[in-house]
């Protein structure tokens, strides 16, 4: 059995997860630990105190719930519910993780109050001097715990309000403890001293676990901040050294070389990792083209210079497919630097792919080769646009001009929105 370095309580638990945590730490079977705990509890409540102390001072594990453990701990019905959906699943785990201390304590207080009233009305002499303070103390502890939980989670009302409420609950606890002594026999010096000490001890006991947890949370937060800082430093360092070197390799190797292709692929991966540049709008024409360019750059010694002008529009299928074909042609037959220029105007979208390759003439392509004719010109014509293939800048290379009226795009959009 694998042991844990410190005692951590699992999220899924029977009572507080203390026994499972201790068992995990010592490498002993849980059943043995539980038995010892029960035996200790019978020794004048020592086990209960130990349990409470461990529960208050040990952290809860970060690890996700082990499904096998869940299966062993949940009843068949709950198991089915857990299997039926992850939402149900997580809410259940959440429910199990947080013991309803407040509700239990308030329940005890109410039962105590109710029981006292019933017994009293039956004519039995009830020691109200003991029962009333006990109820007050229970209620105070319960309310204090609720406020502490909120304070720790940083939820609900503002922090100052919560502090005031927590103090109020603690005052209630103190009042309850005092009542034990006030309602008793006539006060003397000793009762006053004992009362004062009791109040301090009581309030301290209630607040202690919370203080312990708060300090631990602070420590964890600091550790998380340090990790984030470290990551930022690594990112800055990588940006400064590796990205620059990759740029230099590309500069020296020339766009057509294998070395440049590898350097570019690495640069892109590193950038994506460093800056998390996942495009927000996936169907945007520019980001779709960028993605296509990345894929093609990965397989061919080519560098696409993508420039987009105008508003961001969803990518029209026909334009994207024809553009992809033009880019692939440029990558296969020309390579090197290929320019992609996209302009989204008020009336039409232009996509121009220009390469510096050997050039291509439509007449030279056999009629039976479907590639260019069908996949670029035909496809766009069917969509209502046009495609022109001709010589590139200065009469060299190839230029593919694709054009699609905006009216066609918006009509298609409407068609997909309301089928």
């Amino acid at each position: 059995m694998e042991t844990t370095a410190t005692i951590v309580r699992p999220r899924l638990r029977v009572v507080g997860g203390v026994c499972a945590g201790v068992a995990g730490h010592l490498g002993a079977p849980v059943a043995v630990v539980r038995t010892i705990a029960v035996l200790l509890a019978l020794c004048g409540g020592a086990g209960v105190l130990l349990y409470a102390w461990l529960w208050a001072t040990t952290p809860v594990t970060d690890a996700p719930v082990d499904p096998r453990m869940r299966a062993s701990l949940t009843t068949p019905a709950a198991g089915a519910a857990a299997a039926s959906g992850s939402a149900v699943d997580s809410s259940r785990t959440e429910h199990l993780r947080r013991a309803p201390v407040t509700e239990i304590l308030l329940g005890l207080a109410l039962i105590g109050a109710g029981g006292a009233l019933v017994v009293n009305s039956l004519g039995v002499e009830v020691p109200l001097a003991v029962v009333i303070p006990a109820i007050v103390v229970l209620a105070g502890v319960a309310l204090a715990w609720r406020q502490f939980a909120d304070l720790r989670a940083g939820t609900a009302a503002s922090a100052p309000t919560l502090v005031v409420r927590s103090l109020g609950a603690l005052v209630l606890v103190a009042t309850g403890i005092l009542l034990f002594f006030v309602t008793g026999e006539t006060p003397n010096v000793w009762t006053v001293v004992v009362a004062a000490v009791s109040v301090l001890l009581g309030v301290g006991l209630v607040a202690l676990p919370w203080v312990v947890r708060l300090t631990r949370d602070l420590g964890e937060e600091r550790a998380a901040r340090e990790r984030a800082n470290e990551r930022a430093e690594i990112a800055a360092h990588l940006h400064d050294s590796v990205l620059q070197t990759l740029a230099l390799i590309q500069q020296k190797a020339g766009p057509r070389s294998e070395a440049a292709r590898l350097a570019r692929a690495q640069e892109r991966e590193l950038r994506d990792w460093l800056f998390d540049t996942a495009p927000a709008d996936d169907r945007d024409l520019a980001s779709e083209l960028r993605r296509l360019a990345d894929v093609i750059e990965h397989d061919h010694p080519v560098r696409f210079e993508l420039v987009t002008v105008g508003a961001s529009v969803p990518a029209p299928e026909s334009l994207l497919a024809a553009g992809r074909e033009a880019m692939l042609n440029a990558a296969r037959h020309a390579g090197g630097d290929v320019s992609i220029f996209v302009e989204v105007g008020p009336e039409r979208i232009d996509l121009i792919v220009t390469d510096r390759g050997p050039g291509m003439s439509l007449d030279a392509i056999p009629a039976d080769r479907l590639g260019v004719r069908e996949s670029i010109i035909g496809r766009l014509a069917r969509a209502g646009g046009s495609a022109v293939i001709g010589p590139g800048r200065g009469g060299s290379g190839t230029e593919v001009r694709l054009s699609l009226p905006v009216a066609v795009v918006t009509a298609a959009e409407r068609g997909t929105d309301h089928p």
Binding site: Q244, T245, Q251, E305, V309, G345, P346, R393, G394
Partner: protein, 217 residues
């Protein structure tokens, strides 16, 4: 032929030495600097014709390349700046251009391209990368069909300027632009310089918004 005196300002020594080795023989590198403060001292001491300037630089008041341009302007007014960047993000570029750089190219450009751009900047012309040209078209509303009515309008591009910018955005060299539009290379240069001036001086909100964001105004 007199050599063109240039300085390289970049905080990465690997990149500096790599670029230095790639530049052609007509360019004489008079010095290198790695931070904003070093760069300002270097420019003042050597008075190079052109400074190849990284957009992101440590030191100074955190202003990077733009700060070097602004603080060197008094000491060496005849020095021209050509911005280099790996990022290619429009706001980085616009920041140095509005600070006074005469052009911008990406760091993956070849040694020959950088040399050519440095020569062009030294002659008083502007250098636009395709990405920057695309950005200019966007920022001046050219894609939406906005065209300047008069010659001296700062907030919009003329028809001809738009045509030139479109071709540069498609990767055309100045010579190729000239051939395509049946004008001389000199005229192309004039158009590009005019666009650069508009980019530096325009109060179009797309441009001033950045300047405000970057606390340049």
């Amino acid at each position: 032929m007199t050599q063109l005196r240039i300085a390289i300002v970049d905080d990465h020594s690997i990149f500096r030495s790599g670029l230095r080795a790639e530049l052609d023989a007509a360019l004489e590198v008079v010095g290198e600097a790695a931070t904003v403060d070093e760069a300002i001292v270097l420019v003042e001491a050597t008075r190079p014709r052109v400074v190849l300037l990284d957009v992101h630089l440590p030191g100074g008041h955190g202003g990077g390349g733009a700060e070097v341009i602004q603080r060197s302007a008094g000491a060496s007014p005849e020095t021209r700046f050509l911005a280099l960047s790996v990022s290619d993000a429009a706001d980085d570029v616009v920041r140095v251009i509005r600070a006074g750089a005469r052009g911008y190219i990406t760091k993956s450009s070849s040694g020959a391209e950088v040399s050519e751009a440095a020569r062009r900047v030294a002659e008083g012309d502007a250098v636009f990368s395709p990405r920057l040209a695309g950005f200019v078209l966007d920022a001046f509303g050219a894609a939406a069909g906005e065209t300047a009515a008069t010659h001296d309008e700062l907030d919009r591009l003329s028809q001809r300027e738009q045509e030139v910018m479109r071709l540069i955005a498609r990767g055309y060299s100045y010579r190729e632009v000239a051939g395509e539009l049946f004008i001389s290379v000199k005229t192309v240069e004039t158009h590009v310089s005019s666009v650069l001036r508009k980019l530096q001086l325009s109060n179009r909100h797309e441009l001033t918004a950045w300047a405000l964001e970057r606390k340049l105004l």
